[in-house]
Amino acid sequence: MTDWEMLGEAAEITDLVVVGLLTIQFMLFLLVFVAACVALLKRPPFASPALLWRRYAQVAPPITIISPAYNEGFTIVESVEALLALEYPAFEVVVVNDGSSDDTLERLVSRFGLLPAARLCEWSAPHAPIRGFYASPRVPRLLVVDKDNGGGKADAVNAGINASRTPIICITDADTLIEPDALLRAVWPFVDEPLTIAVGGTICIANGSKVHRGRVVEPRLPRNFLALVQTLEYERAFMLARLGLSCLGALMIVSGAFGLFRRDAVMEVGGYSLGTVGEDLELVVKLHRHFRTSGQPYAIRFLAEPVVWTQAPESLGDLGRQRARWERGSLETFRKHRSMALNPRFGAIGLIGFGQLLIVDVVGPLVSVMGYVLVPTCWAIGLLSREHFLAFVAAVFSFGILMSVLSLILEQVFLAKIDRARDLATLAAIAVVENFGYRQLCNLWRVWGWYQYLRKQEGWGPMTRQEFKRV
């Protein structure tokens, strides 16, 4: 066999590896798709707020909403007012000022007439030192925890968890807009299935939507291309993937933007782990590990209903940094809990959850980028046959389009929250267009995340704050 023939064989093997991995990714997607269909068929109806209130108000457990804030002076008052106005029978808002260098604390103190206060806390979850607590008899539902900056959201949230006293805690971000009835909608798994330890909710992108007093009053598609593509990605990630994985008992993440947890379960695993950028993923994996190992029955659920709105990055720099950070978070969690990967002892979470993490997040970006570079090059110089090259093209583009299109079909059949034909047509077009450049770019960013992970880079990097479109 000549060197050229050997190179040709190597090229074919590379092509088969890339196509094989993409096919496995797609098969996993189909499994999750079917599970999501089942979950959507079984989910309780979109009840009116009045009906939700009548049904759950008397049995709904009290909730502490924990909202970490770092340099949020510009929006903090409006955010806290929106949180205090949520529709729920019994809740407390704990704002954690994570050593802000701006006037976040001063604005809160001035607006709500806060005074230094004492607070008995459970010091179980680790965090940077607390400087003081602030409360006001005028606003008994609000507590502000002022602490040294701990270098991450996990640190701030842990302080909030320690200060909380309710059986359920809700973790959110200060720049997230929560639907008024989100808590009532999200609490039902805790009521209907008391083994529930965590509930995640669907996050929608608010870019382009009109916002008034911390509420989305007119949902609209973003005008920015990157935000538009992310709208579709969120459909895939939240409505389909997380819902399906939840139905399979393999949900690996409850987003840091909105998640409800049983406080005692979070305390049992020591709260959020510090020094990680994927703290929300890591916490849920820790919960799975703890409850599986100790043999306690539990459930982690996901809601298809949109409950919160967030701003997506609109520049390539911000988006790239976000995706690289997500990749680092996945890699950190995978490494830390690698003994669970493909381990039948951990059931669906070990086989499906970690299997997906391995194929999609750990190996996926590397193999994909290798394929983008090698396969077309080998075909161009005659090392690879046309058929093999076409198989690669089919796997990269047709599977990508299929995944997005199936997500949109599922959304329309079961939820139809995209209620304008024009918006749906726009997203259908995006489902095709995103596969020609955007997805490849995302994989490059994720490979960059791999590089950062190997270099042990920490922190979030600079992010530009997007403002909501206020009316």
Partner: protein, 346 residues
């Protein structure tokens, strides 16, 4: 045809089909929006009609209930209360709204059946009662539970044992809504709900739910039974904190023996629940034990014990002050901070 070529053909064909379906859905969305606009118009018209006839409460609604009017009627019934609600329900039932809900409950999808069962709580006619009773045997547990809640809200539920059996409460139904269900049933059938507590063959989770339900009804007669159950229960039993929560809710001193007993429990969850109940009831005999629990290894127990001492008044506060001066952690910190919180609140 090679496998690779087949792969190419199949993947693009499936992709093309799914895109075609999506394009179809876009067209369907445009059509559905037009239909929704027409419904909105009809709804606006119905609202005007209802407003016009509101002045003559004895009239029927005046038109046969369409799907739109049925939905509108349910929305309005959720908003109004008292006699006004009863009159309106009667009028829309005569127009056929209840009948449409019966049909939805009988033939709709799961979500439709659940909503129909919930909506029928607004109608007390015999037909609605029959439809809801029939739904107690629905194949979906959520529909069954919703139907039972609606029947109970109207005081029309079958005997508790029958409902428990048909819903599988204590077996595969563990929703906390069963507490609300039993509480509603106790409004009209107190004896039978209370008998669930006395019957040794009742599942422990059902007994716990019954105890909590009776507590919500302030049924003092249930206190001795709940007290006995709490004393006899295994200290690690999951229903024990629920018995204590029920005693705390009723706030009757007859529950004191169970609380004093449970303050010594090896389970932190039980100690915390007992401490909370001691504060709510005002069990002065528990002073010494609550004082000791200020140094409990479990934070939640310490917190509940400190708050219970506050609720016990002067004597409890004196204990807290004494613990705050002592040099024994964590009792000192707990007592000092709870007293400081109390001062801040004042």
């Amino acid at each position: 045809m090679s496998l690779v070529t087949l792969f190419w053909l199949v993947s693009w064909s499936v992709c093309g089909v799914s895109l075609a379906i999506l394009i179809g859905l876009v067209a369907w969305r445009a059509f559905a929006n037009r239909r929704a606009d027409a419904r909105r118009l009809e709804r606006a018209g119905q609202i005007e009609l209802l407003k016009a006839r509101a002045e003559r409460p004895t009239d029927a609604v005046g038109v046969a209930a369409s799907e739109v009017l049925t939905d509108l009627a349910v929305e309005i019934l959720e908003l109004v209360r008292g006699d006004e609600k009863a009159r309106f329900a009667e009028r829309v039932a005569r127009a056929g709204a209840a009948g449409r809900l019966h049909a939805r409950l009988d033939r709709g999808g799961t979500r439709t059946r659940i909503l129909a069962a919930a909506a029928l709580a607004n109608f007390k006619d015999e037909g609605s009662r029959a439809a809801l009773t029939c739904a107690l045997d629905d194949r979906n547990p959520e529909v069954r539970l919703t139907a039972a809640l609606s029947l109970a809200a109207n005081g029309q539920a079958p005997p508790p044992e029958d409902v428990i059996r048909r819903l599988g409460i204590g077996d595969h139904e563990s929703s906390l809504l069963t507490v609300m269900l039993l509480a509603e049933m106790a409004q009209t059938d107190l004896e039978n709900v209370r008998s669930l507590l006395l019957d040794a063959s009742t599942a422990p989770t059902v007994r716990a739910a019954a105890a909590e339900a009776l507590a919500l009804c302030d049924d003092f007669a249930a206190v001795p039974v709940i007290t006995a159950l709490a004393i006899e229960a295994d200290p690690w039993a999951s229903e024990l904190p629920r018995y204590l929560a029920a005693l705390a809710e009723i706030e009757h001193p007859m529950g004191s023996p169970a609380i004093l007993h449970c303050l010594e429990s090896p389970s932190a969850e039980v100690r915390a629940a007992a401490a909370r109940a001691a504060g709510r009831i005002g069990v002065e005999h528990a002073l010494e034990r609550l004082d000791r629990l200020l140094g409990d290894p479990d934070w939640w127990v310490r917190f509940q014990a400190a708050h219970a001492l506050l609720l016990l008044g002067e004597k409890g506060v004196a204990r807290l002050r004494r613990s705050a001066r002592r040099n024994q952690e964590p009792a000192r910190e707990t007592a000092a901070l709870v007293l400081a919180e109390q001062a801040d609140a004042a």
